[in-house]
């Protein structure tokens, strides 16, 4: 006769097992889709990559902001104009700027036109055509992003697989303090920590993984107590 606590453990284990199975199936579908996308990108001819659109910006430096500077904030970096002309601030890796061009690591460039410039003011006109994007670089970036997503999906699927092993064992156990559950729990904890490290050091996942690992050791102690109780008549 199972007591109510074990029945609850079985019930929650069953629910988690079903949820993790659904999530696992989604991961597999996503994985297949991403693999197809990876292959499609690898074999995509460069002339099929077509970008259209224009970038158009004007930086006007007046007497008021001549010293502090004014500019365009792109989120990652700023194109700033002040009394010394144009410069890049922020994450400017690979970006170079000169009198008539802003070059983004050879991937794309903006043409700079000095409309007017005198002692107290200056106006710069920046224009760029998206069609000028280096298609090889675009393809590489695209492939990198999709590969990154593929690895993330694989890691999630592996974690879910090990999670489900624990849930399945808990769904039908008579007592959770068995060697089988302890082992599966420790492995799941380890995998979860690995997943946290892999997904750009996700602290929440790492701490959760450590908690599962710790519970594994708590259950190992519980298993010893269970054995002692079982051997007592």
């Amino acid at each position: 006769m199972k007591n109510s606590n074990i029945k609850t453990v079985n019930g929650i284990g069953k629910a988690c097992s079903v949820i993790s199975l659904i999530a696992f199936i989604f991961c597999i579908v996503g994985f297949v889709g991403l693999i197809i996308a990876d292959i499609a990108i690898i074999f995509m001819p460069l002339d099929k990559i077509n970008l259209s659109g224009n970038a158009d910006a004007t930086i006007t430096i007046t007497a008021e902001n001549m010293n502090i500077g004014t500019g365009i904030d792109t989120g990652n970096f700023m194109i700033v104009g002040d009394k010394n002309g144009l410069s890049i601030e922020g994450s400017n890796e690979g970006i170079s700027i000169d009198e008539d061009k802003v070059d983004f690591g050879g991937i794309w460039s903006l043409d700079v036109e000095e409309v007017s410039s005198d002692e107290t003011s200056a106006t710069y006109h920046l224009t760029g055509d998206f069609a000028d994007f280096n298609k090889k670089a675009v393809k590489r970036e695209l492939l990198l992003k999709v590969l990154e997503a593929t690895i993330a999906v694989i890691a999630t699927a592996v974690t879910l697989f090990f999670a489900r092993r624990v849930f399945k064992a808990l769904a039908k156990c008579e007592t959770p303090f068995t060697e089988d559950i302890v082992k599966k729990m420790k492995v799941f904890g380890g995998v979860m920590i690995g997943y946290g490290v892999l997904t750009s050091l996700n602290l929440t996942t790492i701490v959760a993984g450590l908690a599962v690992l710790m519970l594994g050791y708590v259950f190992a102690h519980g298993k010893n107590l269970q054995q002692e109780s079982d051997e007592t008549l």
Partner: protein, 77 residues
């Protein structure tokens, strides 16, 4: 283990079968068998009491200590 259970000896003295003892003590056949063969590591006072009551004996009649140097006890610590 240096503590030996002499349940089989007392049962033979009282001419009581394992099944009868099991029924009267309320401990399953399998568990009594384990007790007889010394495959348990501990016994509850309540179980000991029930067995003593049924077999009309003292705990000392059931348990025997043989000094084997306490090797196992030392191993467990």
């Amino acid at each position: 283990m240096s503590i030996i259970l002499r349940l089989d000896r007392v049962m033979a003295d009282r001419k009581m079968s394992l099944n009868e003892l099991s029924e009267r003590v309320g401990v399953s056949n399998v568990n009594l068998s384990k007790l007889k063969t010394g495959k348990v590591s501990a016994i509850r006072f309540s179980t000991l009491e029930a067995i003593c009551k049924t077999l009309n004996c003292q705990p000392g009649d059931l348990l025997e200590f043989i000094d084997d140097g306490g090797k196992e006890l030392a191993d467990n610590q």
